[in-house]
């Protein structure tokens, strides 16, 4: 327990000292708000069910952060720590591997939560974005979405031969998913085919769940999303347990 807490604190410090991960987790989404806000504004639109473009971007960009941390960030992080021999050094201690992953997950959840808070702050200051849900429910959705995306990231890290490969695989999976899942661009303005593809992308279900709860929806209305995300988590978790390597 002491090890878990200490490792989480240390990981958070290390995270904040890493400019690239800080950018993608904390600054990227607010920058998108500034950029797309300037282009589209936040006027209510029938296309988005009476919400403005920035209103619906809040949950979507939150999903974007979760996806980028899970699929871009974690594979590089884990891959390079393994390549350098850091994981090897941890393995010599009595620390349980599960403790290591738990600390890592908590660190990434805290950082995405911070990212979401910053995002909403910028959205609220610039466009007075609306929030109609319950904070705890949204945090619950963030955790579920996060766990499923992160487990996907650990699986990539486990399967990729090296840090460089992990990074490339992450990018190849993440960037198309970012555009096709509604996380980067609302699905409402996408052609029908893209919406069909989106049904097969896990990130789509993170966007839908967060957006539903964000605007006052209930868990009961999102059982499909919950089921898909739990499924991804269980599957990737099991495969990670099988394929994860410390060196």
């Amino acid at each position: 327990m002491r090890g878990l807490i200490r490792l989480t604190i240390t990981n958070l410090k290390l995270y904040i000292r890493e400019p690239v991960s800080v950018f993608f987790t904390l600054a990227f989404a607010p920058l998108l708000v500034v950029l797309f806000g300037a282009m589209y504004g936040n006027d209510p639109s029938p296309l988005f069910g009476g919400y403005g473009s920035m209103d619906i971007s809040m949950p979507a960009y939150t999903a974007l952060i979760l996806g980028s941390v899970g699929i871009l960030g974690i594979p590089i992080q884990v891959g390079s720590l393994r390549e350098q021999g850091v994981l090897r050094r941890y393995r010599t201690t009595p620390m349980n591997p599960l403790t290591y992953i738990t600390a890592d997950v908590i660190t990434n959840l805290i950082m995405t939560l911070l990212g979401m808070i910053l995002l909403v702050l910028v959205g609220w200051l610039l466009y007075s974005v609306q929030f109609e849900g319950q904070v705890l429910k949204v945090i619950g959705a963030l955790i579920l979405g996060g766990l499923s995306m992160f487990s996907f990231g650990y699986l990539i890290a486990g399967l990729a031969p090296g840090a460089r490969a992990a990074q490339v695989i992450g990018m190849v999976i993440f960037y198309p998913m970012m555009f096709l899942s509604g996380a980067g661009i609302p699905l409402e303005i996408m052609p029908e085919t893209v919406r069909k593809i989106s049904d097969f992308l896990p990130l789509t279900y993170v966007v839908k769940l967060l957006r539903g709860l964000w605007f006052g929806g209930s868990w009961g209305e999102h059982l499909l999303e919950v089921a898909v995300l739990v499924g991804v988590l269980v599957l990737c978790g099991a495969l990670t347990a099988r394929f994860f390597r410390w060196e």
Partner: protein, 304 residues
């Protein structure tokens, strides 16, 4: 003396490379046990099998009478490990690393005391990536001691250290023994093995070719003492060969090497030179050392 580590017929192959080829030995509680051998001899493989970090192909091993694979976490609590190759996160600071690693163990040494002992106090807030090679090495030694381990494994403990730091590490290792703890180290410095270790195993091609105290190893080689000096004015007529203590004389240019028994060689040769009124310079004796044993047993050929 009780054995704290027991290894019986340990074998380990990687694909087609036989890294360790059926070795057996024991390490006694409270001793400094050294393992030397050419590059690729199998030292790291042996040590990491005992630590439970690699799976042996066959053979029995135990440490504290526990099985390295089966009881890894229980063993990990009681041992300290400095790996030949590892790293820390680039941006972690020295003191953070110590506090972090301390938190993984029930029993903890004082991090400040360790920093002081390893000369890292001034570097306590430096990032790992900004440390010099020797400072990183010292940090890893500190981490190996963070849980006051009963057995410390040091794989090439002084590689990359300057002479001062090397001597400080020798003192440190001796202190560990004074406290009744056990040290298992590998090194490429024969002087270090000779001065520091209670017993030394010489490994070659995955086998132990010799295992004994450094003194016994040197004695077993039967190598003669040497007396080396130069003759600035030259001299053809040395007739040192006739002295009973001298077995043979080699001259090359003005440099002379006299071989003979350990006892009385120096005084006999000195007297003879004085009597003959021969000018000599730079006289020194050379005792056979562990390096001679090492080269005699493992050859002079460089390994792949």
């Amino acid at each position: 003396m009780t054995s704290i580590i027991k290894v019986q017929d340990l074998r380990k192959t990687y694909d087609d490379v036989v890294a360790v080829d059926g070795i057996s030995f024991e390490v006694a509680e409270g001793e400094i046990f050294g393992m030397v051998g050419p590059n690729g001899a199998g030292k790291t493989t042996t040590i990491e099998c005992i630590e439970g970090l690699r799976n042996a192909d066959s053979g029995q091993m135990s440490i504290f009478d526990l099985d390295p694979q089966h009881d890894r976490s229980r063993i990990a609590e009681r041992i300290g490990i400095q790996l030949q190759q590892s790293a820390l996160p680039a941006r972690i600071r020295v003191s953070e690393a110590l506090v972090l690693f301390a938190s993984f163990y029930q029993r903890q040494a004082d991090p400040q005391e360790l920093l002081k002992r390893l000369g890292l106090t001034e570097k306590r807030s430096s990032a790992y990536a900004k440390l010099s090679g020797g400072q990183k090495q010292r940090l890893f030694i500190a981490l190996a001691l963070i849980n006051s381990p009963e057995v410390v494994f040091l794989d090439e403990l002084t590689t990359g250290l300057d002479p001062q730091a090397r001597r400080a590490m020798w003192d440190l290792v001796r202190d560990i023994r004074e406290q009744g703890r056990t040290v298992f180290l590998t090194t490429h410095y024969m002087e270090e093995a000779e001065r520091l270790c209670d017993r030394v195993a010489i490994l070659d091609h995955g086998r132990i070719v010799a295992l004994d105290t450094p003194e016994a190893l040197i004695r077993s080689l039967g190598v003669e003492s040497r007396l080396v000096f130069t003759l600035p004015n030259g001299s053809d007529d040395l007739s040192l060969q006739d002295l009973p203590q001298v077995s043979r004389v080699e001259t090359s240019g003005d440099r002379v090497v006299v071989y003979g028994s350990k006892e009385g060689l120096a005084s006999a040769v000195l007297n003879a030179l004085e009597d003959a009124g021969i000018d000599f310079q730079d006289l020194r004796t050379e005792q056979p050392n562990l390096e001679d044993v090492f080269l005699a047993l493992t050859g002079r050929e460089m390994r792949e």
